[in-house]
């Protein structure tokens, strides 16, 4: 409950989590849909894993206020978003790319809202 309320209090992190979960659903659908062109492909598995990871990062960021771990997750999230977006582009999964852009928006909101909060 604390975790959920933490996320809800942080619109940026919430957006990251939601977008990454959306990306996860899309990628799972692509993995099992024979008409997706990327069904059963290792690249699709990779983005399934990366979107799960991104969702976890988003949840962690909502909980962490400062410190090394927070910095680590901020950088890792950004790298994850960039990598997943690129993978989505190469997989021709436009929906995943759009969701990663939404996730990036969440990341920006989270980072700058926090900065203002700590200023």
């Amino acid at each position: 409950m604390t975790k959920i309320s933490g996320i809800l209090n942080d619109a940026g992190a919430a957006l990251m989590v939601l977008a990454s979960l959306g990306g996860l659903i899309v990628s799972i659908f692509n993995y099992f849909n024979p008409d997706s062109g990327i069904a059963g492909e290792p690249g699709t598995l990779l983005v399934i894993a990366s979107t799960i990871l991104l969702a976890l990062f988003g949840m962690a960021l909502a909980k962490l206020n400062s410190g090394f771990l927070r910095s680590f997750f901020i950088v890792s999230s950004l790298l994850n978003i960039a990598g997943t977006s690129f993978a989505g582009y190469l997989l021709h999964s436009q929906t995943l790319v759009i969701l990663m852009l939404v996730s990036l928006l969440g990341w920006i909101l989270h980072v700058f809202r926090r900065r203002r909060a700590f200023a």
Binding site: P34, D35, S36, G37, I38, E41, P42, G43, T44, L46, A87, L90, L91, H92
Partner: protein, 650 residues
């Protein structure tokens, strides 16, 4: 409906009146190549460059005949082998061009079944099972390139088998089936089956696999076969059989090798489709290389019909002319597609010509009456072999015009592939023999470009007979040919070290061979892209009109940049409206291109690479484009049993 057909045919005649008698005038797709001239041209115009973007799936059907290889528990095959339900099935390769004739779509499958489908819905009218042995007897995969159709001059509806479908099997059986009912034609061979292997009487090490459907003309079936010319030095010698279409009786046999050569070599067979010039009563054969593929020390005397295009008299099988395309072939550069017949307007004259595409990337434009070049072919010197016992031909035929689809030198090391492999590509290239086109196989390993999978494969090219525009897709692939002394090869084989990696024994020759595509350890090509392209030529001048990368490489699901193109298998067809339809790429897309520019106007994902020619037909006033999406392990492991038709929405 008939009025529409007639008007369509008449309009094509009017537009192309200067181009002779070869043009397709039919709304049907009655042979593997659309017509006997192998033009792969449809006169239909309903689908145009302007509306092709609206193309949608009209119907799709799955035959169930597909295997990704391995045991039944591995999934992806729906029918166990007849002999042992638990046995492994080889993977399937499905390169079948669907036929549309007799108001029905017919296709053969890699399990050697025939399906007759309704042309507007894809519903199965009937299917026929040859109950063929589903074993990789001569090929690594279960493979089929479709079926053939014959009908009597004046079909009598009261009699059976006035219209027939033929399918061959890997175990050399040719089946004749009533096209209306799907029942075997009892008057053909024994109970509707002719065993082609009854004529496999010399060096019969494996069955004469009938993977390519027969070529049908008049009341003849012209039957070539496939084998495995990499396995042994001495193999069944190449033959083409002419059978009676009704009874299966043998009318004549063409022998590619003389008896002396047949005793020490083999193959030079015809495994691809053939073309027929109806007016000149000529049958054109694409003849493959003699065995073994990569060493010719056992066959140093010239085998003049090996790796050639050869014209036979239809009625007698006698050679009218033959032109060898590669002398003393030690690269496996089989002539691999039917030549395209086209009358060319050149210098104010009409030349009855043919265009023979090739793995070596040359387009041989020949006078089909005489075999003489329409554009000059030069004998140029090429490197000698350094392998003991081998003697490469000092010269080879070289075609300056039309410009070859691939260059004389390989494209060079691809920087990205080299960097990510820490210099593997450049280090390896430095150890290989590389003297450009026709560098002979060697003991240290030779860079061969184009190699056996490259240049132009069995799809060949297509032509618009009204303009003389010839279109062909091709691959730019670099391979490494390394001969291994027999003792070393056998020792490694005994130790179990040759199970992977492209090893071919050539038993009976002093060398085995390792043939690999030049990839880095990550699987990236070591040579610069593009890896596949499509090009157009004006046959009136021999000039290239355009040349653009085609398709996309897909690795681990990731699509590589369009500018890299894709290795392609399969070929194009052209419609009179100015469109090219083609599958062929490893990204499992089928595409429509603008004939004028090569620009992709439409594409759609199918379930596996469509490595066959599509068929274009009209039924009840609607134009359809049909692809068999079957896959080929040379491109990607992805296989399917899907046949899919596209049409404009109502």
């Amino acid at each position: 409906m008939w009025t529409k057909y007639l008007l369509s045919a008449l309009s094509v005649v009017a537009l192309t009146a200067t181009c002779g008698e070869l043009r397709a005038q039919s709304a049907e797709w009655s042979t593997y190549n659309g017509d006997l001239a192998a033009q792969k041209f449809s006169p239909l115009k309903q689908i145009t460059p302007q509306n092709v973007g609206n193309l949608a799936v009209a119907w799709r059907t799955h035959t169930g005949d597909v295997s990704s290889g391995g045991p039944p528990s591995a999934g992806m095959h729906n029918r166990p082998p007849a002999t042992d339900p638990q046995a492994d099935l080889p993977p399937t390769v499905w390169s079948a061009t669907p036929l549309f004739v007799n108001d029905t779509v017919y296709l053969g499958t890699p399990f050697y079944r025939i399906f007759a489908l309704e042309p507007d819905t894809g519903k199965v009218k009937w299917s026929y099972d040859t109950n063929a042995v589903l074993e990789a007897l001569t090929q690594p995969d279960l493979k089929n390139r479709g079926v053939a159709y014959w009908q009597a001059d004046a079909p009598d509806a009261a009699q059976a088998c006035q219209k027939r479908i033929y399918i061959g099997t890997m175990d050399a059986k040719l089946h004749s089936i009533d096209a209306d009912t799907g029942k075997p034609c009892a008057d053909f061979g024994k109970g509707g089956v002719v065993d082609i292997d009854q004529w496999n009487v010399e060096n019969a090490k494996w069955p004469l696999s009938i993977l390519q459907p027969p070529t049908v003309y008049k009341d003849f079936l012209f039957v070539g076969w496939a084998g495995k010319d990499w396995a042994d030095a001495v193999d069944p010698p190449g033959t083409v059989f002419a059978l009676d279409a009704r009874t299966g009786a043998l009318r004549w046999t063409f022998h590619a090798l003389n008896p002396a050569d047949a005793a020490k070599s083999g193959t030079a067979n015809v495994w691809a489709s053939m073309a027929v010039d109806r007016d000149r009563n000529l049958l054109f054969l694409p003849v493959s290389s003699p065995s073994p593929n990569f060493f010719g020390g056992n066959r140093l005397d010239a085998i003049s019909l090996g790796t050639s295009v050869t014209a036979l008299d239809v009625d007698t099988g006698k050679v009218v002319w033959s032109r060898q395309l590669v002398h003393h072939d030690i690269w496996d550069l089989d002539t691999n597609s039917a030549p395209t017949l086209i009358d060319i307007q050149k210098d104010g004259a009409t030349i009855p010509a043919l265009v023979q595409t090739s793995k070596q990337g040359f387009l041989y434009v020949l006078n089909r009456e005489t075999g003489e070049p329409v554009y000059p072919i030069e004998e140029r010197p090429f490197p000698a072999s350094t392998v003991p016992g081998e003697k490469a031909s000092p010269t080879q035929p070289y075609v300056p015009l039309p410009k070859a689809v691939v260059g004389d030198k390989w494209p060079g090391v691809f920087g990205l592939a080299d960097i990510v492999s820490f210099g593997y590509c450049s280090r390896t290239a430095a150890t290989l023999r590389d003297e450009g086109r026709f560098t002979p196989p060697s003991l240290e390993g030779s860079l061969v470009y184009p190699g056996t999978i490259g240049g132009i494969e069995w799809g060949g090219g297509a032509v618009d007979p009204s303009t003389g525009t010839f279109v062909v897709n091709y691959s730019s692939a670099v391979q490494i040919y390394k001969l291994i002394p027999r003792a070393d090869y056998d020792k490694a084989a005994t130790a179990g070290g040759l199970e992977t990696g492209g090893f071919f024994p050539m038993t009976g020759a002093p060398y085995g061979v390792q043939l690999t595509t030049f990839l880095n350890p990550l699987g990236m090509p070591c040579w610069k892209p593009p890896y596949g392209s499509i090009a157009a030529y004006d046959l009136k001048t021999g000039k290239q009109l355009w040349d653009v990368p085609f398709g996309q490489v897909q690795q681990y699901g990731f699509y590589m940049p369009e500018s890299w193109g894709s290795i392609t298998l399969g070929g194009p067809v052209i419609t009179a409206s100015g469109l090219i339809f083609i599958g062929a790429s490893m990204d499992s897309m089928v595409r429509a291109l603008d004939l004028a520019t090569g620009k992709v106007l439409w594409k759609s994902l199918v379930s596996a690479p469509a490595v066959a020619l599509p068929a274009v037909y009209e039924y009840k006033g609607k134009q359809y484009v049909v692809f068999a999406a079957g896959g080929n392990s040379i491109l990607t492991p992805k296989v399917s049993d899907e046949i899919i038709a596209f049409a404009l929405p109502d």
